[in-house]
């Protein structure tokens, strides 16, 4: 029997060290280190099967780690039973108890812990998710979005130190999903509980989280604020999984002050040294990947061959395809050097769309480019992103 005193009452950061989980020969989570500051909204983002749920289940106590440890503040909870942890879960398909009404669903955890103030807390939690009026209904009588909010209320009412959400919005349609994202964010700010939100929707992770960890094949590829991750990806996987990137193989030709100089079949570029991913060697003669986001690229009609920008960082090519999407037009440009570069151009003026076959010059500000390790696959994470976008 779990009494209130059995639950470790701790606060603090969630610290995961060397966490590993193997199923037989298969390593689902591989030596994972993570620090989630108390009270933050943390998103764990990654493609299907990369080990997100497994990680979450180990934090919840539903799965036992093969190695490593999990701690909240100073308390090691690696081997505590689920009901002893100050952690609650919002399950992927809500897992509301169908035989209990909404009120009893929300009261479930409180009653098991013999809480003395069930009624007030339940009503507060229902108020938080704005669903007091469905108190006496059964879960089957609620819409998907309502069920989602009840699942949230049922977990939050226990005031855990950490709340785990496994793709909580996965079953909702796009519009409701956007609405619930705002709602979740509001509730998190209001209650101040650490949220760990698992998703494979990169837009969702970026709009909601203070910190995003991108996970791939059992390891964290990169962790940081959404802007950091988007503007300065450290790996090809992150560059492609979070939005889209053009990753062009190039060779380092030297250095000029704070800039790294490079060249490929299309010409010469420069990238600030500060924009080189950690651990990448940019010694002369090294092969690297130069990355530029499609929306950072400026496209103009190629009229006279001679009026190229003086700072370099341009390529010339022919429009291979143009996709008008309303806000912007997405081009694929085949460069002279044989690369294909994606470009998003805002539709500022009517009728200014380049037709396929048009010769164009693409240029970008050196400060927007970044350099990744040349041994990486330039397409890593790109296909997965399409898949995840549903």
């Amino acid at each position: 029997m779990a009494r209130s005193s059995d639950v470790t009452q701790v606060d603090g950061d969630l610290t995961i060290t060397h966490l590993t989980k193997r199923f037989g020969d298969f390593t689902a989570v591989d030596d994972l280190d993570l620090n989630v500051p108390q009270g933050s909204f943390f998103a764990l983002l990654g493609p299907s099967g990369c080990g997100k749920t497994t990680t979450l289940r180990m934090v919840a106590g539903l799965e036992e780690p093969t190695a490593g440890s999990i701690a909240i503040g100073d308390a090691d909870i690696t081997f505590s039973r689920p009901y002893q942890r100050p952690v609650n879960t919002v399950f992927q398909n809500y897992a509301l108890f169908p035989h209990l009404d909404i009120y009893e669903n929300v009261a479930f955890g409180l009653r098991r812990r013999k809480d003395g103030d069930v009624d007030r807390k339940v009503k507060e939690a229902l108020e938080l998710v704005e669903l007091q009026h469905v108190m006496r209904r059964k879960p089957g009588q609620l819409s998907g979005g309502q069920q989602q909010r009840i699942a949230l209320a049922r977990a939050i009412v226990n005031r855990p130190a950490v709340l785990l959400l496994d793709e909580p919005l996965g079953a909702l349609d796009l519009k409701l999903r956007r609405q619930m994202q705002l709602e979740l964010k509001r509730i998190q700010t209001e209650v101040g509980i650490t949220f760990i939100h698992v998703t494979h929707d990169q837009e969702e992770a970026m709009t909601m989280a203070d910190t995003v960890a991108v996970m791939n094949a059992g390891v964290i590829e990169q962790m940081g604020s959404p802007i950091d991750l988007y503007e300065s990806p450290n790996t090809a996987f992150v560059a492609n999984f979070l939005g889209q990137s053009n990753l062009l193989p190039a060779t380092v030709t030297g250095a000029d002050g704070d800039d790294v100089l490079l060249s490929d079949a299309d010409g010469a570029f420069r990238v600030p040294r500060a924009r080189v991913a950690p651990g990448v060697d940019v010694g002369t003669g090294r092969r690297v990947l130069v990355g530029v986001r499609p929306e950072k690229i400026h496209a103009e009609l190629l009229t006279v061959a001679g009026d190229a920008p003086s700072h370099g960082n341009f390529v010339e090519g022919t429009v291979a395809s143009a996709l008008f999407t309303g806000v912007s037009t997405q081009y694929e440009v085949a460069t002279r050097g044989g690369d294909v570069i994606g470009v998003f151009v805002q539709n500022l003026r009517p009728g200014a769309v380049f037709d396929p076959g048009t010769a164009v010059r693409l240029s970008w500000d050196a400060g927007f480019a970044f350099i990744l390790d040349g041994s990486e696959d330039p397409n890593a994470g790109a296909l997965l992103d399409d898949e995840a976008a549903d």
Partner: protein, 307 residues
Amino acid sequence: MSIAAALGDVQRDNLQGSPQPQRRGHFVPYLLMLPGLLWLGVFFVVPLVTLFMMSLQTAVPGGEIGEYEQTFHFANYVDVLTDPSYYTPLFRSFIYAACATVLALLIGYPLAYFIAFKSGRFRNLFLIMVIAPFFVSFILRTIAWRQILADEGPVVAAMKWAGFFSDGIGGIYPSAIAVVLGLTYNFLPFMTLPIYASLERVDPKLVEAAGDLYAPGFTGFRKVTLPLSMPGVVAGTLLTFIPATGDYVNAALLGNSKNTMIGNRIDYAFLNTNDYPTAAVLSFVLMACILAVVLVYVRRVGTEDLL
């Protein structure tokens, strides 16, 4: 959870303002019911009416044994209801059936739970084993229980060894215990299978959620799994209790004259004394009693899904 959940779906659809299904083809459900209705009509309503008519007949004056005519003689009911020799067998039937139902529940629920959650890849094998006895005739299986419970049989030997009986005195067959054991055995699959069916539909995620919400192990079972399996328990107990109350084979084969059930009296009236009206009256009295008990039971268990 069948009906309640279905109602929930309907309500939810209405909430979201989805259009009502078109009128076209609204008679199709009735069409689909037709074979079932015909079956019920031919094999339930007609025999029931015939039986009722028979219960109002009286012997043809001066006629042969077993010759009756329709006289709408309602006093047949009074005769039976005021004859105390029927009271004990009727009462006994309910007691035996209730004991057998409780025993079958105690054996059947853990069995169904094991098959549903713990049997892994052997699940189908266990399910086949539950229904395997049906491949052997009911009578043969019941007679086999005579051997099992006989004074020289393994059960008695084991109990003597354990000191329950002193040598020479006591035994199990024939006795009330033997009849109840026979009933339990014969109706066990009817208890196990519905419980299994409802347990199998319990989402393991719900049990996990209960664990997450401080109800691990047995508390989680009591608060989540058990309530969700109640429709199966109700169905199983009814499927066991109702036929067990009317059963006469077990009492005939495993009991003696002190274990007569009402089914045996009906059997006797029908086939030995050819007193068809009395047998018919007894059948209706039994039916009424079972209905009353079942109604009270279902009310008490309070499964809104059934009522």
